[in-house]
Symmetry: C3
Subunit: 205 residues, 3 copies
């Protein structure tokens, strides 16, 4: 669990570092943005659960993934040609892992099934919203191209259901995360869309 959670932090942190690179932030600003997106969603979850101190502040190992993410971007470990596409892949990876690990963390703290799924969703989308809000970007979760919140909702609900049925283990958890990741990536690849909020007809004035 801890490994998967740290991997989720790393994925989101890479997305933050790539955005920082594109925006010409320096490496320290990059560490700050990577930490915000990687740890922000989990901190909100932990504050809501009201356990003593959020993991990100209590366990110093949570500082490691953002630092590694910044270094890997700085040394161009990931293709920087199609930076935006790479960013979206890592963002999808963080989303997929966090909707599972976030829900499990909430369930392990004694939350009910519905509350835990809501917290898993919050963990999954919270960091990305903060990353984009402080960078003056419109958050991915609001981008009508592709689906974003739906796979996270389904992933969190599945995780919560599997737990309640006693069927949640390393295999099923990974399968759920894989499904979420696959749905997100395919939706970007093929431009899946859900109806616009403005309803029938064209967009509003």
């Amino acid at each position: 669990m801890l490994v998967l959670d740290l991997l989720g932090v790393f994925f989101f942190a890479v997305s933050g570092s790539l955005l920082a690179a594109r925006r010409d932030f320096d490496i320290v600003g990059s560490i700050m943005l990577a930490s915000l997106v990687g740890l922000g969603g989990g901190v909100i979850r932990d504050l809501v659960i009201d356990q003593d101190v959020p993991n990100a502040f209590r366990m110093p190992i949570y500082i490691l993934p953002p630092v590694l993410a910044v270094l890997s971007v700085y040394f161009h470990l990931f293709g920087v040609r199609r930076l935006r596409r790479t960013l979206m892949m890592f963002d999808a990876g963080g989303l997929a892992l966090f909707c599972v690990t976030g829900t499990i963390t909430a369930l392990e703290s004694g939350m009910g099934a519905v509350t835990a799924a809501l917290l898993g969703l919050t963990t999954a989308v919270g960091g990305g919203i903060m990353r984009d809000a402080v960078s003056n970007e419109i958050p991915q979760v609001f981008n009508p191209r592709g689906v974003y919140a739906i796979p996270a909702m389904v992933g969190a609900a599945l995780t919560s259901s599997l737990w309640t049925l006693g069927w949640l283990n390393a295999v099923t958890g990974t399968v759920v995360a894989g499904l979420v990741f696959g749905a997100r990536v395919l939706s970007l690849r093929y431009g899946w869309r859900v109806p616009l909020a403005s309803g029938i007809g064209k967009s509003l004035p």
Copy 2:
């Protein structure tokens, strides 16, 4: 109380859905924005109060108003001609209800009169600030046209005072909310203004 609070969530959620429609978000992004503006202020209040789990996560019924708001905007239940004006009306309704219900929630949790009024104000303006911050809009509370925070401050202070005097009930609470709503709407209609922060003379360079 719960009904009034859910109504406040609904009003703010409609404001979020209308903004989502104007920005060409899809219906899922609209649900996320409607939830953020409708529930965000109350979650901060509940975290500050340090009760176990914020209402929005503990009571699943709080998901209902954002969903209804998104549907009502999707099916054009509210005039979409003057979308910005409609948005401001619903925002005013949420502001008016939340400065009362937010203060009462804090008082019922044992907060002192001043802390409770500050929390009522935070509940009332917090969700709208989040809505606008993630949408890259300058929050309404900073817009010099009309008054926004002042009626919410007065409403929260009145609610707290009436409670302390033992005069708070369904009637007086509704009157306070009505006064806040009226002041906000009239200030927009007639362009009331308070002095600019830059002080005497013209705005700063």
Copy 3:
């Protein structure tokens, strides 16, 4: 300690009021922005620490610095000619004081040395990030001109180390804050930079 913390709130609040003045917010919007930047970082710290109610809501005296800051900007007590430069100076003052007082507050609540330093850093940069995020500015902490987070990190780590060694007192604490302030101001004056997140070569496409 309380005096230094209130002074930090005042410094950050002035930075918020100056930004409000430059953006043509009115005095009430200015109070809201000044409160957000002055109190936001500390509220997050207190929520993470999980003490009962954050200081800013529990002790009404914390409302005073934002109000004084708004009045001092309104009456042009600080040179308004070079508004941006004045803003940066006050922001540096808040950063310097908060990385010390934020760390001490966390240590006094029983946090470990590393957690306390992280919370001191969060207190120091959190309010400024919120100020800039809601005003649609790219936060100072991401600006590659000058150093921002590094002096705050060093200041928080020094404070935590001095406390652990039993050497922290009014004098050493003030020296640390002075060093942080000096480093920040000199870095702006001489345009110190750290490497860009995009790594070797030019910025990414």
